[in-house]
């Protein structure tokens, strides 16, 4: 299900870079994601994957380069605007609202922009009631979709790690994101839980959501991704079908050589 060339990609980064001091964590990366694609962003630790996500979601402004969402230049758009335009993301360190229930976590992402003003809650009780009903329906539906209904009332900080990761994905769903950036959705999960997350990703994809995911677990990458992009030291060094990309001995050396070096030091 790759996009045809004449169709505008949902996301394009053009020669995008992000430096910290003199260090370029992302270094001239150009990627293009078609509508409905499931693309894996892989690469060794410290390659700049999360930094690229931070730039695409505009939590970090790029140092140079251009960011296009559905053909529109969003290089200087605020993260909250971008979220409203249809980009959702999860975090490698999850970042749920830990003192709030799973239900409330998702409700935040289902609320309208207007609910961010005190005025909205003070005026017109009828409008407030209608909006509350809409949010309730959306949240219940989302919890059901992600298989989280039984833990709706549980405080997020007390959920299992797998459930927390599912809530993070469910939040993107509640905001009706057309593009979801999932940062290591399966890390730290056991085989059964991983399969569960893979199922949700496949279901999202079949419902038309475009997905860009960072993942170290190659089984998941093979299972869900149509395409994989290999990032090393901030640069894109390969892009292909996951099986073919992972078969490259040169990239395997970068990836696993790095892992070997890491395990030998710990």
């Amino acid at each position: 299900m790759t996009s045809t060339p004449e169709e505008t990609p949902i996301l394009q980064t053009v020669e995008i870079s992000r430096a910290f001091g003199g260090f370029r964590a992302v270094d001239g990366a150009s990627i293009s994601i078609g509508r409905g694609d499931v693309v894996a962003l892989i690469g060794p630790n410290g390659a700049g994957k999360t930094t690229l996500f931070n730039v695409i979601s505009r939590l970090l402004p790029p140092t140079s380069g251009q960011l296009l969402f559905e053909g529109a230049d969003v290089t200087h758009t605020s993260p909250q605007r971008l979220a409203r335009m249809g980009i959702g993301r999860t975090f490698q360190d999850v970042r749920l609202f830990d003192t709030m229930t799973a239900w409330d976590n998702i409700a935040v992402f289902a609320q309208t922009e207007a609910s961010g003003t005190l005025r909205s809650g003070l005026l017109s009780p009828r409008a407030v009631g209608r909006e509350a009903k809409r949010v309730r329906a959306r949240v219940d539906e989302t919890l059901d979709y992600a298989g989280l209904s039984p833990v709706a009332a549980t405080v997020a900080g007390e959920l299992s790690f797998a459930q927390q990761k599912k809530v993070a994905i469910a939040r993107c769903l509640a905001q009706q994101a057309r593009l979801m950036l999932l940062d290591e959705p399966a890390s730290g999960l056991d085989a059964v839980e991983r399969e569960d997350v893979a199922k949700i990703i496949e279901k999202l994809s079949s419902d038309g959501v475009t997905i860009l995911l960072v993942e170290h677990n190659m089984d998941i990458v093979r299972e869900v991704a149509h395409r994989a992009i290999f990032l090393a030291e901030g640069k894109i060094v390969g892009e292909d079908a996951p099986d073919r990309l992972l078969a490259s001995s040169e990239l395997a050396e970068i990836y696993f050589g790095h892992l070997r070096a890491e395990t030998s030091t710990t």
Binding site: F97, Q111, S120, E131
Partner: protein, 309 residues
Amino acid sequence: MIVFGLTLVYSNITMQLLIYFVVALSLNFVIGYARALSIHHAALFGIGAFTYAVMAQRGWSNDLILCGLAAAVIAAMVSVILAFGSLRISGDYFIVASFAFQFFAIEALFNWTSISGGPNGDYGLPTPTILGLAISSTAAYILVAALLAVATLGFAIWLRRSPYGRLLRAMGDAPSALLTAGFGVLRLKVGVFGISGIIAAVAGVLYAAYLGVAQTATFDVNLAILLVAIVVIGGTGSAVGSLLGAALIAFVQPLLTNLNLSATTTAAVQQLIFAALLVGVVALLPRGLVQLGDLPKLVMRRSRGGSSR
């Protein structure tokens, strides 16, 4: 009515309790939602007190609602500036900046003698009115303070349950995740600081009207720290906690006065008691006095060698 029979001491305790409760609740908005340990709350409370003092003394108005509105406007403006500050500087640096603001604001007010009356303060303030009714009896003051406390508590409860309050809680837990939900943090922070400052200033108006004096010394760094202690000892983010903390302060002060110690000794003993309470609560009840019911469980767990978390 029973209130008419209260002795002066008891009405003082009740007034102190109600006012401290309101101020602590308002401070809780900033500490609980914005997660900014604000030290400058006494200054905002003081802004309210001097707004009343100036307006009443110059004969502009002694109406509590009018003075409350004026104080609210001034406190809101100051709070918005501080909210912007809290966005630029966070964590420990904010605490330092907030402390500095508290110190210099009161120092500046002290030296601006036409407003503050200098070391003597503004005294002999006329008694207030509310919608044309004179507030002359102690019972009337207590009634107004109780109304303010109930309104503030009602607002706090409503806020917590409202969609707006949900965003405020989310901001405290994970501000970056809130951005990815499509909400800017600036507007929410400004809102929370504004609400908090307005309530403190309104309480300050009532306090000055009740005492009939406003002195900068009342609103100095000592009170600033005392207010933070009330919130932390009671339990951050908890209305019941604020009530417990306020009650503690309101009762300990007159108890010490009864011991007939010298003024300086009283102050020192009081500070020692609060220091001990603060350390004790932080060590034993990380979530404050509201957790008191869990104390046996916490102690048991600790003595078994487990962690209290």
